[in-house]
Amino acid sequence: MKNQNAYIVDAIRTPIGRGKEGCAFSDVHPVDLGGVPVKELIKRNNLKPTDIEDLIYGCASPIAEQGLNIARTIAITALDVTVPGVQLNRMCGSGQQAVHFGVQAIMSGAHDLVIAGGVESMSKINIGSDGLPLPGKEKPTLPQSFLKNFKSNPMGISGELMAEKWKLTRRDLDEFSYQSHMKATKARENGYFNKEIISVQTLKGLVEKDEGIRPETTVEKIGTLKSAFKEGGVITAGNSSQISDGASALLLASESAVKKYNLKPRAKFIDFAVVGTEVELQLTGPIYAIPKVLKRAGLEIKDIDLFEINEAFASVVLATQIELKLNPEKINVNGGAIALGHPLGASGARLLTTLLYELERRNLKRGISSLCIGFGQGIAAIIERV
C-alpha cells in the first residue's frame, strides 16, 4: 500500500494583534480566538463540524486560559463535543508541528480530515509563564540536578551570538527589519493578505488588519532604539519579532476525504524535518532543518520558489540566508514576524498559510516554511501547489 497524499484544502489566519494590554485581541479569550479560523474553515468549505476527526493545535504556553488542553476546548466550542482535540508544544514550532502531526496521521491512514493550527494570546499569557514555579511553590525545593549541564541563554542573547558569529552589524539587522515593515505594508495596502485573513469581532470592534506593521518607520528610527539584551548589543525591540496575539489553522485532507466531501486541494506536503541544535546559539535550527528537508525530498535550494523563515530575530534570518546562500528576493516576501508579529504557537501555521497564498498569487509551485525554536530546535516543511 502506498502512502496517502496529504492535501492542504484551505488555510486561514486571524489578523495578528499586538500582545499587550489594550490591543486588538487583549479582551478575547484564546479559546475564542483559536476557534475563529476553525469555524471559518468549516463554513467556507461546506463541511459539518462533525466531519473533522481531530483538532490538533499548537500552543507554546499551555497554561491558565490556554491550559487544560486548549485544542479540546476549542473543538467543543467551535466544532462539536464529539470532535477530539490535542494540544502540543514544540514552542515556536508548535503551529507547524501541529500540521506535521495532522499530515502524518493522514498519510498513515489514521485520519482523513483534520484541522491543524495554533493559537497564542501573549497579551494574557506571557512567554515563559508555563515554566514559572507554581503558586505556593515559588522557591525551588529540589537539588535540581537536571539543571547541571543544562545551560540555555535568553533568546535575545542567542540572537546576539548569532549576529556576532555571522558578522552582522546593527545596520544590517535594522535594514532587514525596515524591509520587513515595508514589505508587509505593501502587502497590506495591495490587499495580498485579504484572502488569508479572517476578520474577528471583538468587544472593541472588528479587527481586520495586522496591528504590528509600522508603515512610517525608517531605518534611522529603528537605529535609535536601545539594545534590549546586553549593553553594546545589536539586538533591539525593532529588529526582533513582536509579542503578539493570533491564531491560524489549516484544513488537511486525504485523497478519499477530498472525494467524499468534494473538496478542492490547493497544495500537498512534500516532506518535513525537525532537528535539535546546539543550545547556546539556540536559534540556528533553520540552517540545519532546511538542508535536511531538501535532502529528504531530493530537492535543492534552487527548486524552491519561496521561503518563509520566521523572523524571531533579524539575525536568525540573515544568518540562515548567508549560510544557505538563499536569494533574499525569495525570503519572507511579504514581511515577517518583525513587522507582523510572532504569536508563538500560531506562527508555524501562519507561515504555512501566508506561504500558500503567496505561491498562489505569484503562480509559483513550491515553498519552504521554517522556524527556529527556543532551547535549540528547528523545523521545516516543503509544500507544493497542486
Binding site: H29, D32, R90, V103, A110, P133, E138, S145
Partner: protein
Amino acid sequence: MLNEKKLQDAYIISGLRTALGRGKKDGAFSQTHPVELGSILLKELIRNVNVNPEYIEDVIVGCATPCGEQGFNIGRQIARKAFGDKTPGTQVNRLCGSSAEAFDIACAKVMSGNYKLILAGGVESMSRVPMGSDMMPFAGDLKNIWKILTLGPKVVNLTMLEGLEVISMGISGELIAKKWKLSRKELDEFSYNSHKKAAHATSSGYFEKEILPVKTPNGVVKRDEGIRANVSIEKMLALKPAFKFDGVITAGNSSQITDGAAGILVANEDALKEYGLKPRAKFIASHVIGSDPELQLTGPIDVVPKVLRKAGFTINDIDLFEVNEAFASVVLATQKELNIPNEKLNVNGGAIALGHPLGVSGARLLVTLLNELERRNLKRGLSVLCIGGGQSIATIIERV
C-alpha cells in the same frame, strides 16, 4: 519524496516504565524532578535494546499538566537531558490520553516513512505539579484560583463557557455509576480486586520486566507504591464519599494520584533492517473520539467498537484489555456495555491500585499490556482510556 514512499508497519521494539509512586509530598518520586525521571527512563529504555541515541529522530512526551517543572516543552527538556542537544522533542496534551496519543503520533510518523525510529512516552509528577495547575492563574495569584473558569466572562469575551459545562471528574464518575446502576458494593469489590490482582502480579514478579528501578534521594524505587496488599472490602466500604455526600465514589474506588514515567520505542520496517532491531509487537489501529462532556468518562464505550471496526475485529478477537481505572464506575460501565469478559480485563490490576499518573497512563497501559501478552503467550491486546472533558483514545497492538 514522501508521497512516493510505501506505507510501512509500525513496531514496538521496547516498552518500559518506572514504578509508580504515590503523588504526595512523601511519595517515592516526590524528590525527583520530572525531567530527571523521564530522562532516566528513556535513556535506559534504549540502552536495554542497544540503540544508538543518535538514531532517535524525535521524542514525543505526553504530559497533562505542562507547567512549572513540567513546562517549557518538557519533551525537548527530556530529550536533551537523556540524549543531548541534537535530539528534538515535543510535548503533547490530550489529558489522561496524552501518552497514548504520543504513541499513536509516533506510529503515524514512522508509518508515513517520514521517520524511522521515535521514542514516545509520558511523564507526570503529580506530587510536584498537581493536576489542574495548568489552569491556575500565575504564581502569586493563588487566591484567584479558578477565577479563569468562573469569572472569565466578566473579564474577557468568553463564549467558551457557554457550551462547556465544567464538571469535576468525580461527579461524572457518580453520574456514570447512577446511569449504569452500579452500587457502592460493586465499585468497592472491583477496586478490592484491582489491589489483589496488582499485589499478586507484584509478588509473582510479573512487573519486573517492565519496571526500571530508579535511584532517588529516597532510595531505589522498584515497586509500585500504591498497591495495598492487605486491603479488605470492609475497609473500603468504610471510606466516605469524596465528591457528594450521598455519593458512591470514594478515594478507594477512584484512581490514585501518582508520579511516574513510561516510554515506548517505535520503529518502522526500514529501521528494523537498518539497525537490526527485533520487534515485539505491531501497531494495528488506534482511534480517538470526543464524547459527552457531562458524563465525560464514557468515551471507551464508543471508541472501542470504532477501533475494532477499523481493524476488522470483534471483542472476541482481543485477548487482553487494559481499560484505565480512572474510576471503578468507568470500567464497570464499559465492561457492561461491551461485554468484556472479567478474565481478560485489567488482569494485573489498574490505576485504582497502581495509580494514574495522568500523562503517563496511556503508555503505561500499553507497556503492561505488551508484557502480559508475552507472559501469557497471547497475541492481541487493546488499551483504552477515558479522558477528562469527554474524549477517549483506544489502541490495538499485536505481538509479532
